[in-house]
Subunit: 303 residues, 2 copies
């Protein structure tokens, strides 16, 4: 993938889309929104308890005149309203406020709302100066706890589609494991081998998949060479898929901890969902909103 600054520039060059924010009772959300743009053309929709939302608004720097506030008496009602807005073409992406992630996803994806038939999954895009200044996408650090093979296939489809929308025509995806050999007793290596063959058979779309690969073999050309791993992916992966949420979360955060620049989004619904984690910096929150906006209003995104 191109470097992080070039990616930000690409994303920033497109006008911001219209967000619908669910229960924006935490200050960070409005602060990040205020930092994203002046909202002259596309005013954000804020859904939640009207009095609480307006209290928060008065304490923020967000321009009151540019904002639409919609009352919803419960988290479920707020999520349903957000789904309806997106379904009606009236919002381009969804932003999580105080609502619990599970409630938001259930409200958005349940009962034929914004579901696409695919499992939803999180994607982090991370600057990795230690790896020749490259930018690495990391899936899935935040949604699926212990994804099975079919779920991993959906995570790959979601992530690869997002990278194609960001200009990587044929993303290279490494399925991570602790090893490079297929070990019957190590599920991560077994799933990795199956996903590799699924990709060869065209089951995962326009993406090059290889695994099992250790993370050094995936990211470092020298490590790939020292382990005699050939092919397009070793040493040059654009996307990393870890076996479960523990491995994905701690590995992606270890890379973010060493650099500091990252943006995250939840994919797989009919619109992107910005689902910041408590530990995210304001910068990460702002970049994440820009990413969701870009992907939600992308004219060239493949379906």
């Amino acid at each position: 993938m191109q470097n992080y600054s070039a990616l930000l520039k690409r994303i920033g060059a497109r006008p911001v889309g219209r967000p619908v924010v669910v229960e924006p009772y935490v200050p960070d959300v409005l602060e990040a929104l205020a930092a994203v743009g002046d909202w002259a053309d596309v005013a954000p929709v804020l859904v939640g308890d009207k009095a609480r939302v307006e209290d928060r608004l008065r304490a923020s720097t967000l321009d009151l005149g540019r904002v639409e506030v919609v009352h919803a008496g419960s988290s479920a009602a707020a999520a349903a309203e957000a789904a309806a807005r997106v379904a009606a073409g009236d919002a381009d992406y969804v932003v999580k406020g105080s609502i619990a992630s599970a409630d938001l996803l259930k409200g958005l994806l349940g009962r034929d709302r914004l579901g696409t038939g695919r499992v939803a999954s999180h994607l982090y895009i991370i600057e990795a100066p230690a790896y020749a200044g490259r930018t690495i996408a990391f899936a899935d650090s935040g949604v699926n706890i212990a994804p099975d093979l079919a779920t991993k296939a959906d995570i790959i489809r979601n992530s690869a589609e997002a990278l194609r929308a960001l200009g990587v025509s044929r993303p290279r995806l490494a399925v991570l494991s602790a090893v490079e050999l297929v070990k019957p007793g190590l599920l991560s290596s077994v799933d990795a081998a199956l996903l590799t063959v699924m990709a060869h058979r065209g089951q995962l779309g326009d993406v090059i998949v290889d695994g099992p690969l250790s993370i050094d073999a995936a990211l470092s050309v020298e490590a790939a060479r020292s382990k005699s791993l050939a092919g397009a992916v070793p040493g040059r992966a654009d996307i990393l898929l870890a076996p479960d949420i523990d491995a994905a979360n701690m590995t992606s955060k270890a890379i973010i901890g060493a650099t500091g620049r990252a943006m995250g989004v939840v994919l797989g619904a009919r619109a992107p969902i910005s689902l910041p984690s408590r530990g995210d910096s304001l910068q990460t929150r702002v970049h994440s909103l820009l990413l969701a906006s870009y992907l939600g209003s992308a004219p060239d995104a493949d379906p």
Copy 2:
């Protein structure tokens, strides 16, 4: 923990102990040994097929006069000889050559050889400049695939004992998970909570344990504060314990990839075992030998 350079200095200040090297048919092993010292007082013992070992020796820069070569006709015989040497007090630590890791561990630990009643586990000590120049110990990236609770307890005992031998009188250990809450459906968080209480009850020895913690909450004071996590461990962990080999391997390698300096050792036997991985640099191999030597000849190590 002190910084990596200070740690190396501490380790280097003690005279090297005597290694027994099992099947040193790969050139890297002898190259690393040659870089460690001049072996004037404690000549390494090399065990394996005598002709093959001597071939390798002639191609290396290791001083032939300082080396004892012992013939062993099979990997099992070589591992048994290594165990006998350590048991007799004739070697201070074991070094893996070409022998498969599983065969080496089985040969050393099986049939009352060097077993201590504890499960063996790997420990990486990693320089982490991104985290205020600190040094982080990472357990277990290389031996136990899916450790259960009892195995995790042994891994904690092994790691904490090694850190105490390295001068950290009461190590702070974070049990990692993707979350900070105890989630019944997420085994990593459940085991972390159980290990925390086990440590409180004194079941794990002189070590301060806290978990579940995400890796940013474990290592970053700011992240710990933003998540309102109090106590001695959040933001200041000396040792990280990941839930399984996948998570441990990819997280530790992500940190090593961003920095480059690390040393590894297998603990839990009656002597340290140096078990380099194929991707380790010569520097890591040399530092790992020094660490095994230090721990194997440590007069102040607690039993």
